[in-house]
């Protein structure tokens, strides 16, 4: 199902978890950490990003630490979709665990700041509504998609009472 999101915030390659969730603020509350999210590369991001917006990255988005505050900070600020040419492996899992679809999309570089984005995570389509273009993305498999739709791993486990089964994930 195609779902509408907001504006794209576009970043380059190798956006790491220290930039997303700086270590200096890791022991404090999430709101304080989120205020510094991405400030090393865009000091205005945290102040101006809005509910429903989309963060677009190049290669290796979210490389580095396992700290899932990198995802939580984006989520706290209203980001609801991630699109990148590729993701750091742990970050990718963390995003799905918090119910945020992370779509691997080779054409992510065609998206410009402010473009309005929609996506179908099940079919693997990123739609650039501003440019009237569709880009192919890796579809999220089976149960991982269900987990995202449930709002993440914990709500999913609450509902199903079981771990994500590999058999189901393949379907």
């Amino acid at each position: 199902m195609m779902q509408s999101y907001g504006r794209a915030w576009v970043f380059g390659d190798d956006i790491d978890t220290d930039v997303l969730a700086p270590g200096l603020y890791m022991k404090g509350p999430l709101e304080e950490l989120a205020a510094h999210c991405l400030e090393a590369v865009d000091p205005e991001f945290a102040a101006y990003v809005r509910e429903g917006d989309v963060v677009v990255g190049g290669e290796n988005f979210g490389i580095g630490s396992s700290r899932e505050q990198a995802v939580q900070a984006l989520q706290y600020l209203g980001v609801r979709l991630l699109v990148a040419k590729s993701f750091g492996g742990i970050f990718f899992r963390n995003a799905l665990n918090f119910g945020i679809a992370a779509l691997t999309c080779p054409d992510a570089g065609r998206i410009r700041p402010g473009d309005i984005i929609a996506a179908d995570a099940a079919a693997g389509i990123v739609r650039n509504c501003s440019r009237n273009e569709d880009y192919a993305a890796e579809a999220l498999p089976g149960r991982l998609l269900a987990m995202v739709q449930a709002g993440g791993l914990v709500p999913y486990l609450e509902k199903s009472g079981s771990a994500i089964s590999g058999k189901d994930a393949e379907t």
Partner: protein, 426 residues
């Protein structure tokens, strides 16, 4: 005839109860051991388990190690440690190492790793455990909560990249130089989602500490994990740590295993490497950065402060002095390492040279502990990552290098080649 399996595929097949697995498949694995620390561990896990109304599936398969906020420096870090201690007691976790050092070093040091295990760690440097022939990878706290309630997790089977290291290391050249060189050669996404297996004649000559450095920094290649098949060196280390190496000869990749890529490294031709800010992939031979002034030299972290790392630093620093206007901070990776370094004279050599001794923990590496940098300051560090702002101020700059090179730079007060300082008396 079917193709043979890599070491990673064999372990995942065993953990998922299958005859064989193929790269790209998503499978559910039974977790043999789950390791977490004070930052990503109990303080974040507890509310999730409460919400799920669940208990830890097997407290004896959980290891908790406090290392990020030790020793407490303020009320917030003290509260995090207090919560960690309380949660461990309430949940019957026997394997709790409080202020004993950095989790990736303490875990094998206390005999918890055995070749062939499938292990999750709540930290991104978890591939370190792969040096012991385990499949160990990092996960976030929510994934860890899922493991703790079920004893299972999903994984997409990675393809394996083989890094074949042959030749002989020159004096002053170490595992850190190999992996920094690989970061530059392959890039930080060079092994994305894949497993990196180190093989070759030079690996067999390395002590476990050096193998851990190689496996550890597979993460900086974007890999899910790094692995080194166990041999007698591995088995001896495990026995000496009170562990059981089991049938370690079984956990080897097949000769006809299907590697995605093979890369050769000639250790004999390798020069000391330095990675410029803000990426390990900015590595180049030390002469490219020689003479660049440094405010701080840091020997610490899971990557760069094991006993052998301290020996490298001492080999350079013995009989020499840290330069004026440069500070050298040394944070031994564990309490046992600090004790061993005290017993064998290493600490004395470092302290006489002017080093400042820091607590055994993650320290300044990720900007959590003491020793962080001001904006505009330059640090040369034996740690794994030099991302922007990681070690302190957003405007600070971190160069990565081996303990040899960090020590030589501390003496010069500027980035320096350690090779001229080795094998001669000061």
């Amino acid at each position: 005839m079917t193709m043979g399996a890599t070491l990673a595929e064999k372990i995942i097949a065993r953990a998922s109860g299958r005859q064989q697995v193929a790269p790209g498949e998503i499978v559910t694995c039974t977790v043999d051991l789950a390791m977490m620390h004070d930052s990503g561990g109990p303080r974040r896990i507890e509310p999730l388990l409460e919400r799920l109304g669940a208990r830890v599936w097997d407290p004896d398969k959980v290891v908790v190690i406090s290392d990020h906020y030790v020793p407490a420096v303020d009320a917030q870090s003290a509260a995090i440690l207090d919560l960690t201690r309380r949660w461990v007691a309430e949940n019957g976790i026997r394997h709790f190492y409080d202020m004993q050092g950095i989790c990736h070093v303490v875990l094998p040091e206390r005999g918890h790793l055995r070749p062939g295990m499938f292990v999750v760690g709540g930290d991104s440097h978890s591939p370190t455990g792969g040096a012991f022939g385990c499949f160990m990878f990092g996960v976030g706290a929510t994934d860890m909560a899922g493991v703790l309630v079920s004893g299972e997790t999903w994984i997409r089977v990675p393809a394996t990249i083989c890094i074949r290291v042959d030749g002989t290391f020159a004096p002053g050249v170490s595992a850190k130089d190999v992996v920094l060189h690989l970061c530059a050669r392959l890039g930080m996404g060079g092994a994305r989602y894949q497993a990196v297996e180190y093989t070759g004649s030079a690996i067999g000559t390395l002590p476990m500490a050096e193998r851990m450095t190689l496996a550890n920094m597979a993460a900086e290649l974007g890999a899910q994990t790094g692995l080194i098949a166990a041999d007698e060196v591995t088995a001896d280390y495990i026995r000496a740590s009170g562990g059981d190496p089991g049938d370690f000869t079984h956990w080897q990749g097949d000769a006809d295993a299907g590697y995605r890529q093979v890369h050769d490294v000639n250790a004999s031709a390798l020069a000391p490497q330095v990675a410029a800010p803000h990426s390990p992939a900015n590595a180049a031979p030390v002469n490219e950065y020689e003479g660049l002034r440094v405010d701080q030299a840091y020997i610490g972290a899971c990557t760069g402060a094991k006993l052998e790392d301290l020996h490298m630093a001492a080999a350079v620093l013995r009989g020499r002095r840290v330069a004026e206007n440069t500070r050298l901070l040394v944070a031994p990776a564990s309490r046992l390492i600090a004790a061993a370094a005290a017993a064998d004279g290493t600490l004395a050599a470092l302290l006489e040279a002017g080093a400042v001794l820091m607590p055994s923990g993650c320290g300044a590496c990720a900007g959590y502990g003491a020793g962080v940098l001001a904006d505009g300051e330059v640090c040369i560090s034996s740690t794994a990552r030099n991302f922007k702002g990681r070690m302190g101020g957003r405007g600070s700059r971190v160069y990565l290098a081996s303990p040899y090179t960090v020590a030589a730079s501390a003496v010069a007060g500027a980035v320096a080649d350690p090779r001229p300082l080795l094998g001669e008396s000061a």
